[in-house]
């Protein structure tokens, strides 16, 4: 029944109605069907308080999903009455709902001020014991992002001293998090002080008592926290930086080693990266560096440090390191992110050249390439690659072309040929 479809533009339609004589035919202009109202099935059977709050929530959700933030704010004025609901099961849920909705709306509302955030966070914090720590943490993050480091620190220190019977015991994981971030803020303070006194001598800075205080707080906190398994990357870095500054190398090394090698911690390649960088900074022997990089290679074969690893192996005198270097570079090139990287290919060429000094280099290479012959040509040596490489990076093409025969001897050399013809075309054009 097309004719009973209501139109929104009533006045215009009214005038046009007179003209059409045949109502069943399609009109010249498109009939503007209104967008259907969003369906709210869940509030159909409810009455009273629950109907009001459920309907309000649905309107807010619709408004937020469509980014109509002013409308969401209007409805949010009437929604907080859900906090007064007396139904036993849902009070915690309601509090979390109100907290998250409020912060989301404040994020997007053009006129929201920091004061509004502070109000909301304070109110919701004190209304709910289960969410106190998380809201404190979020509040502190928000203040940090807006540059109010002292306020953030104050929030976190208040949260650290929060005790609420069993609740604070149950939420000990979050307490650890709060301690960790609190020490991060101490570290930021320490950095600020350091940069404030930038002109002074290093020794003077070391003697600076304020900085020492911050350092002591950080170390006492972090020593405790770093014993627990977890991913503590930013905290580790800041701690190590401070320890280096105060020349406490043994502690720094032990912290990093612990972080990298403790099996109860989740496997974290960054730990090995940090350890490697630290050790390199302090001039460790090559053997040690190679050992660290070996573990890293197992974890992440495509890491950028693998380049360094293989160049180290190349420079070393041991004969077994040559094939190892080749292996590492081939593992790297298995990943498409390194496909167009000139350094990798150059290094590969250098490694192969060094290997060619040995009599059995062909077997070595074939052994390493045995698992790769079906898919490496498609990955690296197609005509399409040839065209792009010769256009964008002729040097790369040259290096790759020289290696195709060696790495994939049985495959038709379409890469080389394609690139050759392109080169000829370029030359003839010029």
């Amino acid at each position: 029944m097309d004719d009973t479809d209501p139109d929104t533009d009533i006045v215009n339609d009214f005038e046009e109605d007179k003209d059409s004589s045949d109502p069943f035919s399609k009109r010249g202009r498109q009939s503007k069907l209104p967008v259907p109202e969003p369906m709210f099935p869940s509030s159909s059977g409810l009455r009273g308080f629950r109907q009001s709050t459920t309907m309000c929530l649905e309107h807010i959700r619709e408004a937020m999903l469509h980014h109509r933030w002013q409308e969401a704010t209007e409805y949010m004025v009437y929604f907080p009455q859900i906090l007064q609901s007396t139904s036993e099961g849902s009070t915690q849920q309601n509090k979390e709902l109100v907290w998250r909705l409020c912060t989301e709306i404040l994020h997007h509302h053009p006129n929201s001020t920091l004061q509004d955030y502070n109000n909301i966070y304070e109110r919701m914090k004190h209304s709910s014991s289960k969410h106190y720590l998380m809201i404190s943490l979020e509040h502190a993050f928000h203040l940090m992002l807006h540059g109010c480091i002292e306020d953030a620190k104050h929030q976190l220190s208040v949260a650290q001293t929060w005790r609420y019977g069993k609740e604070s015991v149950i939420q000990y994981q979050k307490t650890k998090l709060i301690h960790a971030y609190s020490s991060l803020l101490d570290y930021i303070n320490w950095c600020d002080k350091k940069s404030a006194n930038d002109g002074s001598d290093h020794d003077v800075l070391v003697e600076n008592t304020e900085m020492q205080n911050s350092f002591r707080q950080v170390s006492s906190n972090l020593k405790e926290i770093l014993k627990h398994p977890g991913v503590w990357d930013p905290f580790i870095l800041s701690y190590v930086e401070m320890l280096e500054f105060y020349q406490d190398h043994t502690t720094a090394l032990s912290v990093l080693k612990n972080y990298a090698h403790d099996s109860s911690f989740p496997p974290n390649p960054n730990a090995h990266v940090y350890l490697y960088q630290y050790v390199k900074r302090h001039g460790a022997p090559q053997k040690k560096l190679l050992k660290i990089l070996k573990t890293l290679h197992v974890l992440v074969p495509s890491h950028e440090l693998m380049l360094e690893y293989s160049s180290l192996l190349l420079q070393s005198k041991k004969s077994c390191h040559g094939p190892k270097a080749l292996e590492i570079l081939l593992d790297m090139l298995d990943f498409s992110c390194w496909r167009t990287n000139l350094d990798v290919w150059k290094l590969l060429k250098a490694v192969i050249e060094k290997l060619q000094l040995k009599p059995d280099w062909k077997t070595i290479i074939l052994k390493r390439m045995s698992g790769r012959t079906d898919w490496w040509p498609a990955l690296h040596f197609t005509r399409a690659h040839a065209t792009t490489d010769s256009e964008e990076n002729p040097e790369l093409w040259a290096v790759k072309a020289s290696l195709t025969k060696i790495l994939c001897p049985d495959v038709p050399q379409s890469y080389v040929d394609a690139g050759d013809t392109d080169e000829e075309q370029i030359h003839t054009a010029l």
């Binding site: 029944m1 004719d3 009973t4 209501p6 139109d7 929104t8 009533i10 006045v11 339609d13 009214f14 109605d17 007179k18 003209d19 004589s21 045949d22 109502p23 209104p34 109202e37 009455r47 009273g48 308080f49 109907q51 009001s52 309907m55 309000c56 309107h59 002013q70 704010t73 209007e74 409805y75 949010m76 004025v77 009437y78 907080p80 009455q81 859900i82 906090l83 007064q84 007396t86 109100v98 409020c102 709306i105 404040l106 509302h109 006129n111 929201s112 509004d116 502070n118 109000n119 909301i120 304070e122 109110r123 919701m124 914090k125 004190h126 209304s127 208040v158 001293t161």
Partner: protein, 543 residues
């Protein structure tokens, strides 16, 4: 010194919204711009948190000690409530006769029948007493003397069965409705419900208007707490029960001059529904044919009309049947009738009418939904059952209020929400804010033809849903089953009118069926009927 004190107080002034405070001699804060004195204890939004201060500050103790020598009864509380409600109605325009002569008498009759007053042998059980709270009195100590209302009603004796007829909030509305019908005021039950929803008839939070002497706590909270606005059917059932309890014999007759009689009430609904005035004479004609214009049908009488009549539903059913007779409403005839050559603005076209009303209906439903969202159920001081729930409730209320205030500052200033006390749902005309152009003046020439020098509707058929032989009560489920087979235009009309008077379409459909039964007679064998199944399963057409 003053500046230091006032520097921390940054609440904008309630009257002039300026932040320009000074301290008066008595030590209170006053606004320099408008000299408005601030209630500092309430309005300060204290965002700093000091450990240990999350407890509610002690409420101020009552300055005068109250000696509990005067017992308050629940009925006295309800008397206050009824008075408030009646005053509100009189303010809205109902004649004072309703409140002073009718409602008062009914209330006294009720008190007499329930033996709470005006009788030589009043019930003075604890069930009827109001438990007073006193913050000085320990609630545990006083709790042992009372046994709760619920406890009483469990062990019912003959005399105590009257506890069931104790007044509750819903019954206040039912009593108001009875008084309105008795005084023949032009407010139907659906109008009463609409006024409650709009907040013009105090209901949800009327207990706050109870005087301080009657502060309620404990189990009595349940008596005064309101969880939702009752529906049309619920209130009708309550009113019916009340009529029987009060043993009312006959109501003042609702004659055809009275505004509750369909003859006149239909004018109001026709106008609200934007239907042409020319439809009214056909409506009266239909009423005569169906023999439903007699006043006995609309006046409660314990012998001839034992069911309290629902004037709004009956009137709307008559309107629907009239439209059905004139237009057909079988998804074919009415559109054929609209296809006449004369499409001028003076002629009524059902298609135009549908378009207008559907759009207006949608926006009206939206504003009704917004009104539901905006209703605050827990505003005011609230009713709590004991001290613990009071402190918890007040704490939650404080949080909720402060979050609300934060967003109120962010939201745009509220556009003047038309909290109109008009009983019309829609506004048709050329003014700003109207729902659409008015069709009242249009003529029905497209649907009428001259036949033997008399105007008759062009449409000559009338369809009926398949008759069922079950009892009336079971019809409630039939509408849902039949909905799939009913013509769309009929369903849309039904939905529109059920929104207009705020009842469920099932109820309206039932009334339409009743009216059709009267119109066409139960005994159908004397008529010739063509049983053409033109509309699919479940309908028949009659000529």
């Amino acid at each position: 010194m003053n500046d230091e004190l006032t520097a921390t107080f940054t609440q904008p002034c309630a009257q002039c919204s300026a932040v320009n405070w000074a301290v008066s001699d008595e030590g209170r804060f006053y606004c320099r711009s408008c000299h408005n004195v601030a209630e500092r204890t309430e309005d300060v939004v204290d965002t700093t948190f000091t450990p240990g201060s999350a407890r509610i500050s002690n409420l101020t103790r009552r300055s005068r000690t109250r000696t509990p020598d005067r017992q308050w009864w629940i009925c006295e509380g309800f008397q206050f409530i009824l008075k408030n409600q009646a005053d509100a109605l009189v303010d809205l325009g109902v004649s004072a006769h309703f409140r002073d002569q009718v409602l008062c008498q009914l209330w006294r009759l009720y008190l007499q029948k329930s033996r709470q007053a005006f009788t030589s042998d009043p019930i003075r059980s604890s069930a009827h007493q109001l438990r007073i709270t006193d913050s000085d009195v320990d609630s545990e100590g006083s709790g042992s003397d009372w046994s709760g209302v619920l406890g009483n009603s469990v062990h019912l004796s003959e005399s105590q069965r009257q506890v069931h007829t104790l007044m509750n909030m819903r019954r206040t509305l039912a009593l108001i409705h009875l008084a309105l019908v008795w005084s023949r005021a032009p407010l139907t039950l659906s109008d009463v419900i609409m006024l409650v929803r709009a907040g013009l008839l105090p209901y949800t939070d009327v207990y706050e208007k109870l005087p301080d002497k009657l502060k309620v706590e404990g189990v009595d909270v349940l008596t005064f707490r309101v969880h939702n606005v009752p529906s049309h059917q619920e209130l009708h059932t309550e009113a019916q029960a009340l009529v029987h309890f009060l043993q009312l014999e006959t109501f003042p007759p609702i004659s055809s001059q009275s505004q509750l009689h369909p003859a006149l009430l239909s004018l109001r609904y026709l106008s609200d529904a934007n239907l042409p005035d020319q439809l009214h004479p056909w409506l009266l004609h239909l009423m005569k044919r169906a023999a439903v214009e007699d006043q006995t049908l609309y006046t409660f009488d314990s012998t001839s009309c034992p069911v309290l009549p629902q004037h709004d539903i009956q009137t709307v059913a008559i309107i629907i049947v009239t439209i059905k007779v004139v237009f057909g409403l079988n998804d074919c005839t009415e559109w054929d009738l609209c296809d006449v050559d004369d499409q001028s603005e003076a002629v009524f076209s059902l298609r135009r009418w549908f378009r207008l009303t559907q759009a207006a209906l949608r926006s009206a439903e939206q504003s009704r939904n917004q009104l539901i969202c905006r209703t605050q159920w827990k505003s005011g001081c609230g009713l709590y059952q004991n001290r613990r729930s009071r402190s918890l409730g007040l704490k939650r209320k404080r949080t909720s209020d402060q979050v609300q205030r934060c967003f109120q500052n962010l939201s745009s200033p509220v556009a003047a929400r038309r909290c109109s006390s008009s009983s019309f749902r829609f506004c048709w005309g050329g003014d700003d804010g109207a729902d659409g152009p008015s069709l009242h003046h249009q003529k029905l020439t497209s649907v009428l033809t001259m036949n033997h020098n008399m105007l008759t509707p062009t449409n000559a058929t009338y369809w009926l849903p398949a008759r069922c032989t079950c009892y009336l009560d079971m019809h409630k489920s039939h509408f849902q089953d039949m909905k799939a087979w009913l013509p769309h235009s009929f369903l849309q009309l039904l939905n529109f009118f059920s929104f207009l008077i705020d009842v469920k379409p099932t109820v309206l459909f039932q009334e339409v069926l009743n009216l059709e039964r009267r119109l066409l007679g139960h005994n159908s064998r004397t008529r010739t009927k063509t049983r053409t199944r033109t509309l699919g399963q479940g309908t028949e057409t009659a000529t």
